[in-house]
Symmetry: C2
Subunit: 361 residues, 2 copies
């Protein structure tokens, strides 16, 4: 690029009175596709020191208003954007939050992210994402990769195995756990699965059910575990004469379908189903309808989560404010980052019963 019109930005020659013009290291205009302008470019262009530029742009008080205005104008003209890495290096703050999730599936995930993003961007934080791909060891690997590039972590590890790994990992950053079976050492936020299960049982009993079966979640999953325990506890307390029937699935609709057919084949009688999540409940609904069993007349069905499908297929369920979980997790993490959080504690989100056609006609 030989002698491009260097007329406008060669003011720096004023500081160096003579010498042979340092090759105009970086004197292109903002419109060019040049290297991004640095704080030094701004300082040179404004005939000020980099310290003043830094102070002015960061809103420090001890800067002359006129000077600040000039700096802001020059910065805008050069299209200056502070280098985030450099800033992080000297301030030891990244303004980023790492999010480690077990899997990117379905509405649950997008709602969670929505809540997190809103809370994070409200505080000027950005979200760095990582999927553990349902591999337990991946979680620690993902966290390690994030160390140093985030100010804190939100980790979701519903699998007990992952939670165990987590517990043994030394942390160097603030961390909030979501839906994880470890409420002692860290700040955490969870769904009150036992309460939800209790609400489900109460509702089914109110509808007149006398033989309730539970389609449970995976044994390794904390939510499945707690919902199963909550179901059993509620049954013991509220319907002590009923036998407790539980069949575990894998949170997929096909499991619900299969388990219902197995129960029917085995001649097990039931008039109510509490599934540990909506997908399995929908699979159960499907199987019941195919077998000509009236819902809710002969069998009432209730799920957990309130996914959009539940609304469409009139499934009674327990609504969980997933976006709220995400938002609260971020809020608490930011509180911990800024040192305004208290001792580690666990916060529970309460599920809300949503009654639809699958339990009441």
């Amino acid at each position: 690029m030989p002698h491009c019109n260097g007329s406008d930005h060669t003011r720096e020659s004023a500081t160096h009175p003579v010498t042979a013009e340092p090759a105009t290291h970086n004197s292109q205009t903002a419109s060019g596709r040049s290297e991004p302008a640095t704080i030094r470019d701004v300082a040179r262009s404004a005939n000020l020191s980099i310290a003043s530029v830094s102070r002015a742009l960061n809103g420090h008080a001890n800067v002359n208003p006129a000077t600040r205005a000039r700096i802001v104008a020059v910065a805008a003209e050069l299209g200056y954007v502070p280098n985030a890495a450099a800033r992080s290096l000297s301030t030891a703050r990244t303004h980023a939050i790492g999010v480690v999730l077990p899997d990117f599936h379905g509405e649950f995930f997008s709602e969670l992210m929505r809540g997190m993003d809103r809370a994070a961007s409200a505080h000027g934080y950005q979200l760095l994402l990582s999927n553990t791909h349902s591999d337990n060891t991946m979680a620690t690997h993902a966290i390690t990769a994030m160390l140093g590039r985030v100010d804190g972590l939100v980790v979701m590890a519903p699998s007990f195995a992952t939670a165990k790994l987590l517990r043994n990992m030394p942390v160097r950053v603030p961390m909030v756990l979501a839906n994880t079976g470890d409420g002692t050492a860290h700040h955490s936020i969870r769904i009150d699965n036992r309460l939800g299960a209790n609400s489900a049982v109460v509702h089914l009993l109110e509808q007149g059910c006398r033989r309730i079966v539970h389609i449970g979640g995976p044994a390794d999953n904390i939510d499945g575990h707690e919902r199963r325990e909550g179901f059993a506890a509620a049954m013991r307390a509220l319907a002590p004469t009923q036998s407790i029937v539980v069949r575990d699935g894998e949170f997929q609709d096909s499991c619900g379908d299969r388990i219902v057919r197995e129960l029917l084949d085995q001649g097990i009688e039931f008039d109510g189903i509490f599934a540990a999540n909506d997908m399995m409940a929908l699979g159960a609904l499907h199987a019941l309808r195919e077998c000509g069993i009236d819902v809710p007349g002969e069998v009432a069905v209730i799920g957990f989560d309130d996914i959009p499908l539940a609304h469409y297929l009139a499934l009674t369920t327990l609504r969980v404010d997933v976006a709220g979980v995400g938002g609260r997790a971020i809020d608490r993490l930011i509180a911990e980052i800024s040192g305004t959080a208290g001792l580690p504690s666990t916060e529970a989100i309460l599920p809300e019963l949503v009654i639809r056609g699958s339990t009441r006609s």
Copy 2:
């Protein structure tokens, strides 16, 4: 943060020879809750220079194998993790990719993220997320905030207004556009909406439909726009005698419902509906059923996207490999980052017709 051990912030004492043994600045073991170990700690502990540590840990060739092994061992013992900000600063690489999306809603979003995450982590990249909250100016703001902390950007801006802003923004990083109406200046990837619309029309005509109406998407949306145009073009080409009826909605189920009722009220006859997305198609299905109109007997309905609900409600639709879009976008961005990408070009993902009960009994 009361009385944290103030011994660690006396950094200037290292330069001034204050005698008195620098107090083993940072010699705790990995298990402690101390300040993270730096490369200097590792070097000191291994009796080597920081250059050797850097070379050893980065796999450079010119390091004695025995030395490398010792360094690796010491690093592991100290729990050393390189500071990402420092590394980014000197290498000008962040190994992060910025993702700017219009909204975090539904299955579409999670599938997209899934595809992106898989592709990104396969190449050792992390994802930095940003939501533009459906505010056009937010997009440029979000991008600005990401500059310097990412190696490249994937931007999704289905709104024409946002795309326009984007076009005028000077870019300093590699960028791939997804579903955006600007295929000239940047690498981009999109859904072949016109082809999909054509497939829909062909299928409806094959099913014997002779009066097809289109429930279109928002005027400002590129996908809606292209599907509408594709519909009109296909009708002109394949059924030139039919009049082209189009009613625009907002991609929500309620719109489909409302529009169908309006058409019926206005006495407009039709035997086929092509909706610009599945949600509106489902709304239409709902309205038709409530009005006692047989589907597909009297009216066939086809949607676009193949969301999970479509499967459950037996909606014929055009499947879009959303995860594939995300994955391809990341792959191409990484190619551009590493300089192995060619000139900007547009890549199209082909929708696939999925025939279900709403068009064929």
